[in-house]
Amino acid sequence: MMNLIERFFPMQRGGSKEDAKSRLKILLVHDQVDLTPSQMDAMRAEILEVIARYAEIEPTKVDLRLERGDDGINLVSSVAVRRVNARLAVGS
């Protein structure tokens, strides 16, 4: 029965343009910035290292990327923090 219905009303394919759009947004920023993926990874690691000195990071919830804004490239980050390490932060 489902087969018959699908024959008459083919499943709506679609949505691949969202893939195109998100790929393009990343691609264009990186074309402009001229950082290699490994340099980008190194920058990410170093930034997280600094944050880790002050706070405990949830490593699976780290988002750090370059985005194109109206007036140039922005480094956008969202880092989930488990708890701030007050003792370390004060000591530094």
């Binding site: 009303f9 343009k17 759009k21 691609l27 074309d31």
Partner: protein
């Protein structure tokens, strides 16, 4: 006032030559005096798209090297008043021409023409540099694909670096059906990414292939939707304000209307 416009894209095969030919025809049909220049030295094609390939005697390199006068190399299109082609050399390479040569050539041509359209070769090398050298502004051709848009973005950057003000965008090979079902970037997606003004959208249509087979650009054909899209772009080029965009929708069928009623099809969306 005379204006030189370079038609460029970065990526090959997105429709620069077809666009140049059609805009040349459309502007000439509006009564403007137009020269289209093939700057793709070594890989000329504009002559073929215009159906003028059998009439070439001299070419752009001959003019630049002083082997003939400009007027001898210009081929007059007999189908419309005031359209001329300056063909590229087929047996030379891009290094036969320099940006200074092109600047001088364009300056000379501006004495005789309202519009000089330069068909730029693909790439960002010498041929591109030559093509933009004499231009007052650029029209960037792209298609709704990741690769073409990426290259367009690069070219926009290079145009800005070369102080070509405000490049404008033609989105070519637009397919309303794919946009409706979310499988093709739409006008707003592309403009959001490239952030330059749109000068026109051209549907993906068999007219383009049929007309290129014949060497008879669609802009000559009153009934062609592709021709209509280019004629509207030509009007915008001349500064005419508020030229409405052609509805780039697939015509409704009984079936598509029924599906929409039953909530099975996507909502009707005008593409441009």
């Amino acid at each position: 006032m005379s204006e030189c416009i370079v038609i460029t894209s970065g990526k090959g095969g997105v429709g620069k030559t077809t666009s140049t030919a059609n805009l040349g025809v459309a502007l000439a049909l509006m009564g403007k005096k137009v020269a289209v220049v093939d700057a793709d030295i070594g890989l000329r094609n504009l002559d073929v798209i215009l159906g003028l390939e059998n009439r070439i005697v001299y070419d752009l390199v001959h003019v630049i090297e002083g082997e003939c006068r400009l007027k001898q190399a210009l081929i007059k299109d007999k189908r419309v008043e005031n359209l001329y082609l300056l063909p590229a050399a087929q047996t030379r390479d891009k290094n036969a021409v320099s940006p200074e040569n092109m600047r001088d050539l364009v300056k000379q041509m501006k004495e005789d023409f309202d519009y000089i359209l330069i068909d730029c070769p693909a790439g960002i090398e010498q041929g591109f540099k030559n093509s933009i050298a004499g231009a007052d502004r650029a029209i960037i051709v792209t298609t709704p694909e990741v690769s073409a848009i990426r290259d367009a973005d690069r070219i926009i950057g290079l145009c800005e670096a070369a102080e070509l003000p405000e490049p404008m965008l033609i989105v070519n090979r637009f397919r309303a059906k794919l946009v409706k079902r979310g499988d093709m970037l739409n006008k707003d997606d592309i403009l959001e990414i490239l952030a330059i003004p749109l000068i026109g959208m051209v549907p993906d249509h068999e007219d383009v292939i049929v007309t290129s087979n014949k060497g008879y650009p669609a802009a000559f054909d009153d009934k062609s939707v592709v021709g209509e899209a280019y004629r509207r772009i030509a009007r915008r080029i001349t500064g005419e304000a508020d030229v409405p965009f052609v509805a780039l929708e697939e015509p409704d069928t009984v079936w598509s209307v029924m599906k929409r009623w039953m909530g099975l099809g996507p909502a009707k969306e005008v593409a441009s």
